[in-house]
């Protein structure tokens, strides 16, 4: 690519200062500067998160909710403070609507298990063709366990949700729950969650959104979306692994049976029977991921300090630039071209296998994902067996995109 006519929009460069917060970005890989383009799989961690977690362990750690001593009380306050933070972050009406889980996958499994047990044979759950396995397999397991019906609603050829088809899927009034991604981890498509919620409610169904990708890039407001369930995961939000969130309407959580049994989720226990704690604790059995939860709090504070206006502008400009730059690489085909999209770009390149692309990029210090991205049925739907995927975070720069495009052009040259 001798002539690069494309110039990134100014906003694409507007968050350069945050790179100093991410120690890992100064690491070398195979002797090259790290170009990390796999934030959709898991984001890197800022110093603010790393230091907060280390400081918690160094100075104030103890188990929560049960210690009658200062350290425990302080740690409980920090842990429960994050619940308030998350409630605000997601636009929830009440802190009791925030349930901490291990990740999005566990949050969806919780809903499939608990809310799923309230569905009756003859009722259906609807997922879309572009779901991550995490929002497909738990519903298959529910179907096999209880005899509900599982329906898959299609995407269009460009990777948008087919809203007319969704309307048809809902039309018989037997759907109990619609569970759909808010942003595809493969196609980058952002779905119209409010419209989906309105359609689901009009058909008498509840709606769950998998916000694992979207919540990183856009402000989520579960009240404005009129959602019933919303799940996010901490490690994509620049926080630690091992901590995720289920938000659900309070009345739903109160009606649902518990998921896991054990300590912390009970009110009284005898050998004959137990009674459950109030929400959200009914769904938080055992010692939770205390340090990780506090780390998530630091991550959310960090994100809020940058602000979603700045994050959205940066990523939109970066994505537009990347689509143009990658479009100039011969033989490169972007999989997923819906108009509403975020900074996750899947592609194939002529006959070069995505795994070869990924390894050759890695040898140049560039980290991308390659494979089926935990969305095998979607790969088949889009007519590919695998793709390579570049995804962006707040620390991604236009130079990194340009390096990716130039290196892809060289790789293609290898295989001609």
């Amino acid at each position: 690519m001798d002539q690069i006519l494309t110039r990134p929009g100014r906003a694409a460069d507007s968050l350069r200062h945050v790179r100093d917060d991410f120690p890992i970005l100064s690491e070398k890989v195979h002797g090259k500067d790290l170009v990390f383009l796999d934030s959709a799989a898991s984001a890197q961690k800022p110093r603010q998160v790393i230091d907060c977690m280390a400081e918690t362990m160094r100075t104030q750690y103890a188990n929560i909710h049960r210690g009658l001593y200062w350290m425990s009380e302080r740690t409980t306050e920090a842990y429960e403070g994050v619940r308030d933070q998350v409630a605000k972050f997601l636009g929830a009406n009440a802190r009791e609507e925030i349930v901490f889980t291990r990740n999005s996958t566990e949050a969806i499994n919780l809903v499939a298990h608990s809310y799923g047990s309230m569905l009756r044979p003859g009722q259906a759950v609807v997922v879309s063709e572009m779901e991550h396995h995490a929002n497909l397999v738990p519903w298959q397991m529910l179907r096999d366990r209880t005899g509900i019906e599982l329906r898959v609603t299609p995407v269009t050829d460009d990777g948008a949700l087919d809203m007319d088809a969704l309307a048809r899927t809902l039309s018989d009034g037997r759907v109990g729950l619609v569970a759909i991604t808010h942003m595809s981890n493969v196609l980058g498509t952002i779905t119209d969650a409010r419209a989906i919620a309105d359609m689901a409610h009009a058909a008498g169904a509840k709606v769950l959104f998998d916000g694992s990708q979207l919540a990183v890039h856009r402000r989520v407001d579960v009240s404005a979306l009129d959602a019933d369930f919303y799940v996010v995961t901490g490690h994509k939000l620049y926080g630690p692994t091992g901590i995720g969130v289920l938000w659900a309407r309070r009345e739903l959580l109160e009606a649902m049976p518990p998921f896991l049994g054990g300590g912390d989720m009970i009110s009284t226990v005898s050998f004959e029977r137990s009674t459950w704690a109030h929400v959200p604790h009914k769904f938080e059995a055992g010692t939770p991921a205390i340090i990780e939860t506090i780390g998530l709090g630091a991550a959310l504070a960090y994100i809020e300090s940058i602000g979603f206006d700045a994050i959205g502008a940066h990523e939109d400009a970066l994505t537009a630039y990347a689509l143009e730059m990658l479009g100039q690489v011969q033989g490169l085909k972007v999989i997923g071209t819906a108009p509403q999209r975020g900074g996750v770009i899947s592609f194939t390149m002529a006959d070069v296998h995505p795994h070869d692309i990924a390894t050759l990029l890695d040898r140049n210090g560039i980290a991308v994902r390659a494979g089926h991205h935990c969305a095998e049925p979607l790969m088949r739907r889009m007519g590919v067996s695998a793709t390579a995927r570049a995804s962006f975070g707040i620390y991604t720069t236009p130079e990194e995109i340009a390096t990716l495009a130039a290196t892809l052009e060289q790789i293609r040259g290898f295989f001609v």
């Binding site: 296998h353 795994h355 070869d356 390894t359 890695d362 494979g371 067996s385 295989f415």
Partner: protein, 142 residues
Amino acid sequence: MAQDDLYRSVVLERAKSPRHAGDLPDAPLHGQGGNPLCGDRVKLHAMVDTQGRIATLRHETRGCAICAASADLMAERVTGQGRAQVSRLQAELVAAVETGIAPEGLGELSVFAPLHQHRSRIRCAMLPWSALTEMLNDEKDR
């Protein structure tokens, strides 16, 4: 990007223009292997001589360049070899990709030694070999 020491010309050439690809409809031995993580798939067809040595081996590979080149170089290398020799070669190749150091006598198969820096790709190179071993073991058990 300079000539890459993993994607050397032999790997790219064999992936693009394999010398031992195809079907052997009359072959008595058939084997296959797949990698569900990436969708790579190898089918093997072999003729064996009276001493149990591989007389002809053909492969049908759908996958990445590493897997396709490995299948083709394997087919070349194991022709004329018996089960014990195949298993020794496989062990040497495993040692090479695990350590990055190719044992003497590995020959062209040593192009895969740099995979020790790309551990997730080792299975791509080893898939044809595990399919071959399975095929030969099935033959033994018959």
